[in-house]
């Protein structure tokens, strides 16, 4: 049923796309069919894999290098209230500083290869995950912590057994938001310097008057993000299985 509805929506979107292509002209928006053909060719030639794997490695590496400390540091800083309060405005400023404007520095520090894209992605993902995780930590029920302290749980155990599970929904939200940004930032990084990657291929297509090439790149990126999101969704469902199950939720929702 749902699958059916989704297909209906897909068809509607494709129709809208086609209409837009007719209206604005194929030099701006290639038709879905032309895009699909170009996509297929790029796939067969191995181009998509060649560029996609590069973008994906930059995104995934940066995601890990930025995301792990981004999710971990708030746990460390959690009990250092003063340190946290002192650092806060600088973290916010660091989050706000446009990394893309600092590309020359990234190039100086990390060269023009994969490393500079990874660093760029990591710097964006870090702040994002850091702030969302911090918000999650603020939502922990202090009574549960107090009870656990009473029976002798130490800081590590509390972090693992209480703070982490309560913050997990936030952390996942953060990761889900960060995933597309990781890809997006990798793409921007490639626009700045590269000879490989989906961002590069989009840019090359743009200067080469190849709108189909642009759309192939965009579609490929959208697919990659959808895939990443689905993977995170599965992971989340596994880790948060204690939440009232679908049945219960359905019940409660039907009740409203």
């Amino acid at each position: 049923m749902r699958t059916f509805d989704r297909i209906a929506v897909l068809v509607a979107l494709l129709a809208a796309w086609h209409a837009a292509s007719l209206y604005f002209g194929a030099q701006w928006i290639t038709t879905p069919w032309v895009t699909a053909q170009a996509f297929w060719r790029a796939l067969m030639r191995g181009d998509l894999w060649h560029h996609g794997s590069y973008t994906l490695s930059a995104a995934v590496l940066g995601f890990l290098i930025g995301g792990i400390p981004g999710a971990g540091l708030p746990f460390v800083l959690r009990r250092m209230h003063t340190l946290r309060a002192v650092l806060d405005p600088y973290l916010v400023a660091g989050y706000g500083a446009p990394k893309v404007a600092l590309t020359p520095l990234f190039i100086i520090w990390f060269g023009i290869g994969l490393a500079s894209k990874v660093a760029l992605v990591a710097s964006v993902v870090f702040f994002l995950v850091f702030f969302v995780t911090s918000a999650g930590l603020a939502s922990v029920d202090q009574k549960l912590i107090a009870a656990a302290r009473v029976f002798g749980a130490d800081a590590r155990l509390i972090a693992r057994e209480i703070v982490w599970p309560s913050a997990a929904p936030y952390v996942f939200t953060g990761l889900r938001i960060a995933a597309p940004y990781a890809i997006g930032t990798a793409v921007v990084g490639e626009l700045i310097s590269s000879n490989r990657g989906l961002g590069y291929s989009i840019q090359a297509a743009a200067t080469d008057f190849d709108p189909a090439g642009i759309f192939v790149g965009v579609v490929a990126l959208a697919l990659v993000v959808t895939g990443l999101n689905a993977a995170l969704g599965l992971l989340e469902a596994r880790l948060l299985s204690w939440r009232p199950d679908d049945k219960t939720v359905e019940r409660a929702q039907a009740a409203f």
């Binding site: 009473v150 029976f151 002798g152 204690w242 939440r243 009232p244």
Partner: protein
């Protein structure tokens, strides 16, 4: 033994607690004022008082999850809490167990894992401990629900689980905040009997808050009566019914009716 049992073990002196004023509410609220009490080792003290009188607040301070505005708490003669003392040490290194009024079970852990959590935290989780806990679980009527999440248990079952969780690790002092409040008469009486039996063997020091006068008499060596907020100890009654007590026929015990009535009077 008797000597030791009557030396002051847990002492509270001049305790006070006031909650700060807040936007939209003019004055600060004084919940406890100049409250003193002392409990000897192995004693079972019950505390009754009207709802909202500050019983939970008192236990929170004894368990060191809240700080008094004035006064001090001493354990074995050592001052463990005062308004200016160092950081709070909840549970005073597993010396003081606390069965809170709300169950405070972890929603993301199954019943079993919740109950074993203290032992795991203290690194004392071995086969023997597991067996002991399994017996407690059975006693509390929770057998068969080990793999349920708290959201899938009834209110009373959650309460019992939280009780078992504290009993499992055997702290020398146990604070209990209406632990049997949500139980049916049957289970309740059985748990009264079980608690007394256990206490008789291990002689824990217990501070037991309840709003049920009969329960207070049935269990306690002494019943403390708190006034409406700001709470003070307004009466103290020694329960002379000899132990071991026959819970089932306690109402018939000599002195029960008279004591019940006296406490009721004090509460009005």
């Amino acid at each position: 033994m008797d000597m030791k049992a009557h030396a002051p073990f847990l002492e509270v002196e001049g305790l006070a607690k006031r909650f700060a004023a807040k936007a939209g509410r003019g004055e600060s609220l004084s919940v406890i004022e100049d409250l003193s009490l002392s409990v000897s080792e192995g004693e079972f003290v019950t505390v009754v008082g009207p709802s909202g009188s500050g019983k939970s607040t008192l236990l929170n301070m004894l368990a060191q999850i809240d700080r008094p505005s004035a006064g001090s708490v001493r354990l074995r003669g050592e001052t463990i809490l005062g308004p200016q003392s160092g950081p709070l040490v909840p549970g005073w290194n597993c010396q003081i167990g606390y069965v809170t009024q709300e169950d405070n079970l972890l929603p993301w852990r199954r019943l079993e894992e919740n109950i074993l959590f203290p032992l795991r935290a203290q690194g004392r989780l071995d086969e023997a401990a597991r067996e002991r806990v399994a017996a407690l679980v059975e006693l509390a009527g929770l057998k068969g629900f080990e793999r349920f999440y708290p959201s899938e248990l009834s209110g009373g079952m959650r309460k019992r689980a939280s009780l078992v969780r504290t009993l499992s690790y055997d702290p020398p002092v146990i604070l209990m905040d209406e632990p049997f409040g949500a139980l049916d008469a049957q289970t309740r009486m059985q748990l009264h009997a079980d608690l007394l039996r256990m206490w008789n063997v291990k002689r824990k020091t217990i501070v037991f808050v309840t709003h049920d006068i009969a329960e207070a008499i049935a269990l306690g060596d002494r019943v403390l009566v708190l006034s409406r907020a700001p709470a003070k100890v307004i009466a103290e009654h020694r329960v002379d019914i000899p132990r071991p007590r026959d819970i089932d026929h306690l109402v018939l015990a000599p002195g029960f009716a008279a004591l019940f009535d006296r406490i009721r009077q004090a509460l009005i």
